[in-house]
Amino acid sequence: MPQIIIPPPYQGPTQGVGRLEVEGRSVRACLDAVESLHPGFLAQVIDSAGSVHRFVKLFRNADLLTGDGLDTALDAADELEIVAAIAGG
């Protein structure tokens, strides 16, 4: 099953869990799976229009997904990393 790597700022809904294995064959399906386990998670990644938030980047096996990336296929051994800029003075 693909692994989803969740950055610390988004671990509120997951109660501090930063890595999850979920069922799904696409990025969208896997993110939905995380949401079903941890309600409130998805809104941190997807905006009200159904697109990835501007300030979020998605990486599949360390490769940046171009465009939206939500329909990208994920294999069982893949890692999907969610990266968000959180810091700032």
Binding site: Q11, G12, F59
Partner: protein, 574 residues
């Protein structure tokens, strides 16, 4: 140990207005920036001294790697006893002076004493030809931009400047120390927190001019390895997501989502104006107005600094940051980033910390003494500060002073310093940092943005962040480059041609904290002072969140825990 040699310290006695040069102690070779400032202050400054009196010591110390070709490594620490917190303070900033001082081989400027004439103003000139204290009464009262313009006429175009504005001259405890940016023009970088601008003002020092002339970059002992490290780190960073390339102002929507975009003196954690305060609006303005992103110091690869133009395409301000958009924006219910840009410029001109000033004005508004969102009223208030006056002085002296002036009950601070945008109620581990850091409520001392942490993790996460950031702020690296302890020790090793082990670098970071806590102990602080203002425990935001971390967990952050692997691999973050 080889590597850069013959480094020196500049000692400036402002009682006699004389400057001398002394050798830099070999035992301190791996100390710079914050750790060096802490060591000097513990050694030379009486922690019970009056912060604005002659016995306080003002330190200006570039990081260890400043002046080398390491990427984004030219930061400088300004240190002293804070008149805001009455404890030790280090404020870290970019711009050019750190690079220039180190190219000339100066590891620190230590300023002591005080002129007998409180109205006299002086400058310090640092060049390859020597050091001198010069009379500068003609610069008295100048706002920072006009001051730098005047200094550019006086000095060569290769010079950079460290300055104070009228707030520092008036010894207001929210006063900042400014540095000029990479173009050496604009005093848009600020060592803002803790009122060190007032300390500089109390010593009659209006500016420091540093002219490296044709001095070249500092040469490492192992040039090949150092070069490889520079190239490799830069390549990896630039190939990565570069999350700060549109500036910290772009963090606004995420922070708002996490209930850490405080609104109306922190009574709420989200602002209805997040969209119009979002840094994305600033980036959108570049197309029509010009401006853009740039680096504040030579060799910076992050380029998180914005140059903001007005609607006519003229320069307005630079480095309009997330914290400023929060405290002068959302916290005061100001909706427009353009109004915040105006106030950013005003604060930079006056030499005021935008966080402390925004927090103070938010208290004024919460006390009913100004309308929420009255941006024009805020600008008028800032402009009146140089004239003196009770209200202006209160604002210029920060949140606690404004709380006393208004008699208002809600004053969000820790140890006298206003709490930054990163709110301790959803970010409890960061709250532990605010309680225990020698710096007080300072997010750059150890920011942990992880709402999902469990209470038994707070102490370690805070300690880890504090230690890593202490080393980062000693190194010259910018926190936004996000180096780890392993990265930093690799660079130190190549600089000096020796292996720097994990234990050694971790010990250095811990010792910096220990030195600072020791200073604060001497200043009279106890564990009872490791608390936040009551309103952080009483006023809930975002679904009932309050700061409710028990005392034993807070104090655990000050007891050294065994190093774990992540201590060396976690990135600095502030």
């Amino acid at each position: 140990m080889s590597g850069p040699t013959d480094d020196r310290i500049i000692n400036v006695d402002m009682t006699t207005q004389t400057a001398t040069v002394a050798p830099f102690p070999d035992k301190w070779k791996l100390l710079g920036g914050r750790a060096l400032s802490a060591k000097i202050l513990l050694d030379q400054c009486d922690p019970t001294c009056e912060p604005l009196g002659p016995d306080n010591v003002l330190v200006m110390a570039p990081g260890v790697l400043a002046g080398t070709t390491a990427p984004t490594s030219g930061r400088i620490s300004i240190g002293g006893k804070s008149p805001l917190t009455n404890g030790i303070k280090e404020a870290n900033t970019g711009g050019q002076p750190g690079q220039h001082l180190m190219k000339l081989g100066y590891r620190a400027i230590i300023v002591t004493g005080q002129p007998a004439d409180a109205n006299a103003r002086f400058g310090l000139e640092v060049t390859a030809d020597g050091i001198s204290v010069v009379a500068a009464d003609e610069q008295k009262g100048k706002w920072n931009y006009a001051l730098c313009e005047s200094l550019h006429e006086k000095y060569d175009k290769t010079a950079s400047f460290i300055t104070i504005g009228p707030a520092g001259e008036a010894r207001l405890t929210g006063a900042s120390v400014a540095t000029t940016d990479q173009d050496n023009r604009y005093p848009a970088r600020h060592a803002a927190r803790g009122g060190l601008g007032a300390v500089m003002g109390s010593k009659g020092l209006k500016y420091v001019a540093v002219d490296p002339g044709k001095a070249s970059a500092r040469q490492p002992s192992d040039r090949k390895k150092f070069g490889e490290l520079c190239k490799g780190y830069s390549k990896d960073y630039l190939a990565g997501p570069q999350m700060f390339k549109t500036g910290t102002s772009s963090v606004v929507p995420v922070a708002n989502m996490l209930n850490t975009f405080p609104y109306k003196n922190r009574v709420e954690g989200q602002s209805p104006d997040a969209a119009t305060l979002d840094g994305a609006r600033i980036v959108e303005s570049f197309e029509e107005r010009g401006g853009g992103m740039h680096n504040c110091m030579t060799g910076c690869i992050v380029k998180c600094s914005n140059i903001v133009h007005d609607a006519e395409g003229n320069y307005k301000t630079s480095a309009l940051e997330f914290e400023t958009l929060t405290l002068l924006g959302a916290n005061c219910a100001v909706a427009s980033w353009e109004d915040v840009a105006d106030m950013d410029r005003l604060c930079d001109e006056l030499g005021l910390d935008t966080i402390e000033t925004g927090a103070a004005i938010g208290i004024l508004m919460d006390a009913g003494q100004m309308e929420w969102g009255d941006a024009e009223g805020m600008k008028a208030l800032l402009r009146e500060i140089p004239e003196g006056g009770d209200r202006g002085n209160a604002i210029g002296n920060g949140a606690v002073a404004t709380g006393k002036f208004t008699g208002h009950h809600r004053v969000p601070h820790a140890r006298g310093q206003a709490i930054p945008a990163w709110d301790p109620r959803p970010l409890k581990a960061t709250g532990v940092t605010y309680c225990t850091s020698p710096m007080g409520a300072d997010h750059t001392a150890g920011l942990i943005v992880n709402p999902g942490l469990q209470p038994d993790q707070f102490a370690w996460e805070s300690q880890k962040a504090q230690l890593v950031n202490a080393v980062c702020d000693s190194s010259g690296f910018c926190q936004f480059l996000q180096p780890s302890l392993d990265n930093i020790r690799d660079f130190y090793g190549a600089l000096y041609g020796q292996e720097i082990g994990r234990d050694e670098i971790a010990d250095q970071g811990w010792q910096c904290l220990v030195d600072e806590w020791a200073f604060n102990d001497g200043a009279g602080f106890t564990a009872d002072d490791d608390v936040l203002a009551d309103c952080m425990a009483e006023d809930a935001i975002g679904g009932g969140q309050v700061f409710d971390v028990p005392k034993d967990i807070i104090q655990a952050a000050k007891q050294r825990m065994p190093s774990q692997e992540d201590l060396f691999t976690v990135k600095a973050s502030g």
